[in-house]
């Protein structure tokens, strides 16, 4: 063996000795350049072939992973044949079907793979008020049972458990349960929604927050203030949820243009008792929105809501209302961030204006209510994690018939207003602490100073960055 090697080495050395002068006669540099070029060509070819092979291997692996365990014979034999194909085919490899498992997809394979997305939001508050919230009034407005501020002291606010998932290729469903102070479990939302209807239609059925206005569809813990605007408390009992059906149509335009309509049972304020007759709420809304430039965008909307009430109870009042309410809303929101990147600083301006005509009778006394109000607010993130906000609320009720003087709908010549300011600190996208101060002049009896400390934490599936 060693003898053989020595011989080969000897021959090589001899050859080199003979060849060296011959090569030296050629221009050496030219030769080197040619070699270099050749080398580059080879390297690039190899690299291409390797990446091609990698891609093909990946496709085959994916296919293998997708195939059911008892793999049919023809498919198994197809894979190696494909792998042996020449490197750069002009045609396309056969599509691997629905290869992409999807952005929201989790690791597959275990028994928990079909578990829904679970999210938990804990929203706790500490409230300190000058006046007892049990005597809360927004002067001139007949109120629902959730219009008053939360109880004094420590309270678990809108803590909720959310489950959501695609049901099948047609449907998405979500259920959000909230837990209240006295141990009552409340179904905030529970709906199924289509995902793949043609022509931009979406149908939603179940219980859901109505699409009217801007804030109404959002969960309270995503609001920029710890409490609802005065008009929301006064006219929607904080937030309008329907048991019913919603149809939305998204127009095929480059700007966002959406039309929606809903029908609902109408068993909640401003309806009441409508469930007895089946349907008590109808509404319709239009939303328009777009980017103004890279840095700013807007959405504006208008909504119309008709509700029927049959012996609706009014908080703080023994009388019963029967009649209908028509409500019109315009809403606008504008967002700005330098370069469209909200991470450092950003600004959000929003406002909504409500009109309501309510016609019917309180007990036997005829009632025509002209109710109106708005809020406007600005929230600015001045550095990462820190935001400040101001809000102004105003609502007013027109004079009522003499027979109703002294009742909840008597405006007492007082115009409810409220001034709010807040500062909040976010530990991350998932945790936020807020301090808010309200000077609330909703009562005719004098202003109320309200201090609210709030924390909101969410864990589980990633919350959506809604506009």
């Amino acid at each position: 063996m060693s003898f053989k090697l020595a011989r080969i080495a000897g021959v090589c050395a001899g050859l080199a000795a003979v060849a060296a002068p011959a090569i030296a006669q050629e221009p050496l540099q030219q030769e080197l350049a040619r070699l270099k070029e050749e080398m580059q060509r080879t390297m690039s070819t190899y690299q291409r072939q390797i990446s091609d092979l990698e891609a093909r291997l990946k496709a085959v692996e994916q296919k293998a992973a997708e195939a059911p365990p008892p793999q049919p014979a023809p498919q198994a034999s197809a894979a190696p044949a494909e792998a042996a194909a020449p490197p750069s085919p002009p045609a396309f490899p056969p599509p691997t079907g629905s290869a992409a498992p999807g952005a929201a997809g989790t690791g597959a394979g275990s028994a928990t793979a079909f578990n829904p997305q679970i999210s938990v939001v804990l929203d706790g508050k500490f409230n300190a008020y000058d006046k007892d919230p049990a005597n809360y009034r927004i002067t001139g407005f007949p109120l629902g049972d959730s219009a008053a501020p939360g109880p004094r002291g420590f309270a678990l606010g809108e803590s909720e458990l959310g489950l959501s998932s695609n049901v099948d290729q047609w449907l998405y469903a979500a259920a959000i349960l909230s837990f209240e102070r006295d141990g009552v479990v409340n179904v905030e939302e529970a709906y199924a929604q289509t995902t793949t209807l043609p022509w931009g239609f979406t149908v939603k059925g179940g219980r859901f927050f109505s699409g009217i206005g801007y804030l109404n569809e959002q969960h309270a813990h995503t609001w920029d203030f710890a409490d609802a605007p005065l008009v929301y408390s006064a006219l929607l009992n904080q937030q309008l949820a329907n048991d019913g059906l919603q149809l939305r149509w998204l127009a095929p335009t480059d700007i966002f243009l959406e039309f929606g309509g809903e029908v609902g049972a109408g068993d909640a304020f401003p309806s009441g008792g409508g469930a007895n007759r089946g349907v008590g709420v109808w509404d319709a809304f239009v939303h328009v929105g777009d980017d103004i430039n890279d840095a700013s965008s807007y959405r504006v909307g208008t909504s119309f809501l008709r509700t029927l009430a049959h012996d609706r109870t009014t908080d703080n009042d023994a009388s019963l209302f029967t009649g209908f309410s028509d409500t019109a809303i315009v809403d606008a929101v504008y967002k700005w961030a330098p370069g469209g990147n909200p991470v450092e600083t950003n600004l959000k301006l929003q406002g909504e204006y409500f009109w309501r005509l309510e016609r019917g009778a309180f007990d036997q006394a005829p009632y025509i209510g002209h109710l109106e109000g708005f809020y406007t607010q600005a929230v600015y993130q001045f550095m990462p994690r820190w935001r400040v906000g101001v809000r102004y609320d105003r609502a007013w009720a027109a004079d009522v018939d003499n027979s109703l003087l002294g009742t909840a709908v008597d405006n007492m010549d007082h115009v409810p207003v409220r001034y709010s300011t807040m500062i909040d600190y976010s530990t991350s996208e998932f945790g936020r602490f807020r301090f808010q101060y309200n000077r609330d002049e909703a009562r005719a009896t004098g202003p109320d100073n309200q201090f609210i400390l709030q924390y909101t934490v969410s864990f589980g599936s990633h919350p959506a960055h809604n506009f």
Binding site: F92, P95, G105, T202, P252, D254, G340, E429
Partner: protein, 304 residues
């Protein structure tokens, strides 16, 4: 009411999209650029974000909902990069063609081998991605693999133009392979360099060029640094033998520049995606500029 009606009618007239063969909605500028390379005039390509925006922190803006509604194909990074906004967009856009699982939904990161798949998924570790690092566009070899897969997907949803997609793909790959080789040669001096990064954006770029990530300016992914953390980092940098600092165009430069100033290390602002710098006009410019900026930082260190 009349005014509203006129406005709506006018909006329809103005905003109905011009008719190309297909509409492509791309989540990030790099996939917009790649889609334009492969689809040419056969598609209208919309890019949802700019290079100045943090792709994690986008909101489901009305304009994006409208564009996704009309898309035949959505091209995104996937791997949870768009987890905060894409699911919300998909639900509101009501477009069955681009739902995950349909041929019209293309997740680029799922076409390649992902790095940094965490063994522990816990939000105490910051904003981590359970499917691995989603910033796959920083390695040109990934772009190549994704281009092949994306061309196949274009052919699948628009077979009438299959020949054109194949031809553009081959043309792109030819130019891309030559360019990749050039970048590799240019970047050879960077092999073995040790870098401090702002965010874990560069796993693929560094794996390709042989650069080692020795520290991050963010204490945890997505968590902005506190001054105490930066002070500790500055103490630590000499022991880690770092040579340069790397941050992306979309990030606040102040922390990176502060660390650079205090530590005396050169800082390289990298475009991260198409449009991140003036030179990064397309995918070729993106890597030309990335390599050039790394080299210039590297030589700035070598000089003193």
């Amino acid at each position: 009411m009349k005014i509203l009606f006129c406005t709506i009618a006018a909006a329809f007239a103005v905003a109905l999209p011009a008719h190309a063969s297909i509409n492509i909605f791309t989540c990030e500028p790099e996939w917009g650029a790649l889609s334009k390379e492969l689809a040419g005039g056969d598609a209208d390509v919309f890019v949802a974000t700019t290079a100045r925006q943090d792709p994690h922190q986008i909101q489901a803006r009305p304009a994006l909902i409208a564009r996704l509604r009309n898309a035949d194909l959505a091209v995104c990074s996937g791997a949870e990069l768009e987890i905060g906004w894409m699911p919300a967009l998909l639900r509101q856009a009501a477009n069955g063609k681009v739902q995950p699982g349909a041929p019209g939904y293309f997740a680029a990161a799922e076409q390649v081998q992902r790095l940094e798949i965490p063994s522990r998924v816990d939000r105490a570790e910051g904003d981590i991605h359970p499917s691995g690092n989603p910033h796959v566009q920083t390695d040109p070899r990934n772009i190549r693999t994704i281009a092949v897969a994306l061309a196949a997907r274009l052919n699948q949803i628009d077979p009438a133009h299959g020949a054109a997609y194949a031809q553009r793909r081959d043309d792109f790959l030819r130019r891309w392979d030559a360019a990749t080789l050039r970048w590799q040669q240019q970047g050879a001096p960077l092999k073995g360099a040790r870098a401090v990064v702002y965010h874990k954006d560069w796993a693929y770029l560094f794996a390709w060029l042989g650069i080692e990530e020795v520290a991050t300016i963010e204490p945890k992914p997505g968590v902005p640094p506190s001054s105490a953390y930066i002070a500790q980092l500055l103490d630590d940098i000499p022991h880690r033998n770092a040579q340069l600092i790397v941050y992306a165009a979309y990030q606040d430069p102040r922390a990176s520049q502060f660390v650079a100033e205090k530590s005396g290390l050169p800082a390289a602002l990298l475009p991260f995606t198409v449009g991140g710098t003036d030179a990064a006009k397309d995918l070729f410019g993106l890597f030309d500029d990335t390599v050039a900026r790394l080299l210039s930082a590297e030589s700035a260190r070598a000089k003193p």
